[in-house]
Symmetry: C2
Subunit: 368 residues, 2 copies
């Protein structure tokens, strides 16, 4: 019987994620599995939480990876925080803002959506108008829209919110690649993933809740309609002194996150962020030289997710296929209204290197 895993060769992942996994993380992944209540595993988890706090710039006690990929982390924030009478404002200017809406609809939440054009950032004045007219329990926004390459000015939002409004931020593509300051920016719930800035395979995903978000969770009057992601129970397993069994955590995926954070801390967060920007600048310059334009205006461009306009006459599918099959490089397709119109070039974590950009530019130059 042929083993399909033997066919999988090394691919340079420069799409919207997963990014290329670093050798240290591959090693961590195959560290010996131990029990999910083993002290050694719980120690790894405790140090993971500590590193997460440091890298997220937060003192939040409730900070840990949940046992699923990024979408599970997104869902865990909403499903734990929303109760029936809550009014939610979702700022939507991309695919992942829409996903927030979809998740909240399933929870029968009272949702208000503030839309901005895909490919453009949110406008603070429009948000202020919306906030003046309504009172919200939660305001949610995507920091780095993976679908468009736009950075929303998350750092400017808190001052316009009521003190008791919870501020929820998607940091899936921003964590570990651009500046993110959970406490200083007044964020109450934030989530990310493992397969972008942390250079891990997808599997477990960081979340962090402020003290008052944690209190809201602990004081819920109704059961969370989701057992697997029920933070009140997860706290008893992974966060408290009880260590009560709730679910079997994905041990080796947690090892990977540990190593991803270890590597991030070892390089130094600000150095890592600088590296992403430098490599992004090399990419943009190189793309301009072969006539490829960026979708997003410079001040709101993400270094980690570069949305580029597919040049006139270029066959989207064929070029991505050739990149993958002939050059072992993956880049991402456009989503929603941008399908067939943009490519998404990821520069995240271990993939964010000048040599990788050169390799991609060389290949694109050949194919276009």
């Amino acid at each position: 019987m042929n083993n399909k895993l033997a066919d999988i060769n090394k691919t340079l992942l420069m799409g919207p994620g997963p990014s290329s996994v670093s050798p240290s993380v591959y090693k961590a992944l195959s560290t010996y599995t131990v029990g999910h209540l083993d002290k050694r595993f719980l120690d790894v988890m405790d140090e993971t939480k500590e590193m997460l706090r440091e890298m997220l710039k937060t003192k939040n006690n409730l900070t840990l990876p949940v046992s699923g990929t990024g979408t599970a982390a997104m869902e865990s924030c909403f499903v734990n925080l929303i109760e029936k009478s809550d009014k939610i404002l979702i700022i939507e200017n991309g695919y992942f803002g829409s996903r927030m809406v979809n998740i909240c609809q399933r929870l029968n939440a009272d949702i208000d959506v503030l839309n901005f054009k895909w490919g453009e950032p949110l406008v603070i004045d429009d948000l202020k108008k919306k906030l003046n007219k309504n009172k919200y329990t939660i305001v949610a926004v995507v920091h780095a829209e993976t679908s468009t390459g736009v950075r929303n000015p998350v750092e400017e939002i808190r001052e316009h919110l009521d003190d008791d409004t919870l501020f929820l931020v998607d940091a899936v593509t921003s964590f570990g690649t651009i500046d993110l300051q959970v406490d200083r920016w007044g964020i109450d719930a934030v989530y990310s993933c493992s397969q972008k800035g942390l250079s891990c395979p997808p599997g477990a995903s960081p979340v962090s809740f402020s003290a008052r978000a944690e209190q809201k969770i602990l004081k819920r009057g109704t059961l969370v309609p989701n057992f697997y992601l029920d933070m009140k129970q997860i706290i008893k397993y992974l966060d408290g002194s009880q260590r009560a069994y709730h679910h079997t955590a994905p041990i080796n995926s947690m090892y990977a996150i540990y190593q991803g954070l270890y590597d991030l801390k070892s390089e130094g967060l600000s150095k890592t962020i600088d590296r992403h920007l430098e490599v992004h600048n090399i990419l943009v310059e190189g793309l301009e030289q072969i006539g490829i334009k960026m979708l997003v205006d410079k001040p709101y461009r993400l270094p980690s997710l570069n949305a580029v306009i597919i040049p006139r006459g270029a066959d989207d599918l064929k070029i991505r296929e050739k990149l993958l099959l002939e050059h072992d490089i993956e880049i991402g397709a456009g989503l929603g209204p941008f399908a067939g119109k943009i490519w998404r070039i990821g520069l995240m974590g271990y993939s964010a290197k000048a040599s990788n950009v050169e390799r991609l530019l060389g290949a694109l130059n050949k194919l276009l």
Copy 2:
């Protein structure tokens, strides 16, 4: 900075799961990560589904691993199948039967529970009485109760159910360790995990739905209150020809499941089942020789999960600790009413070897 992963040495996992991971699975785990829409990954997924069908003895089209650990798989079955007016019967004789009840409560389902004593199997006559009095949309039962070591006679249930009642089975600890025949036994929804019979780390978990269960999912009138586990969307990503993005699958955990199934198929399912029984018999005989008694009557004992009564005078915690720290062997504690009263000795997958039993018996002999 000290790396905590370096402290983790090889441990023989003979608890309720995870079981020891096989070397082939460790290798699979660190196969190069590729994109979650990459054809090579989708090919691995397609062959995984094919092997899953074969090992579950089913022709069910909708058969795949979900992107979470066993509890997520359990939840995926209930959350996708239950709609508001549905009446559910849950057969409860252990911790995981109770968990089913807990999950259904969160879905506001109309639940009826048929209890049997922990440590004893369900009694078909009692079930028949219950079924004569009520009509149910779903009847759910745990095949192998990991909390007690009891095998419920799942093969005898279908004939007593109405034709249109959906039959839902937890096969977390039974899959790949004892006989399980999804189609012949008339099972409509079944789930398992990766970290027991398949000898993988926890991470992704098989589920399978019959054609009519799949139809119920496709024809739902209401949204599934869980985005991450929404099977209707997952079908479009992993099961159809659309390959539409829904969430980022845990690529490397899926590689692991692929390899676990590959190894199971290579040994041969019936040989694997025989091996579990043989090794179980060696364990029981050896335990008897050192005066340790089994909790469960012989006809309903699971070979994969051996619940043994802690001998009088033995210190539960201290002995488990010494086993782990001095002998590198993990066994499991009792849960619920059996906490402090039983140990749970797992013989699952790669851990189910005569040499491991000898090692455990030798260590226990020394410590008692």
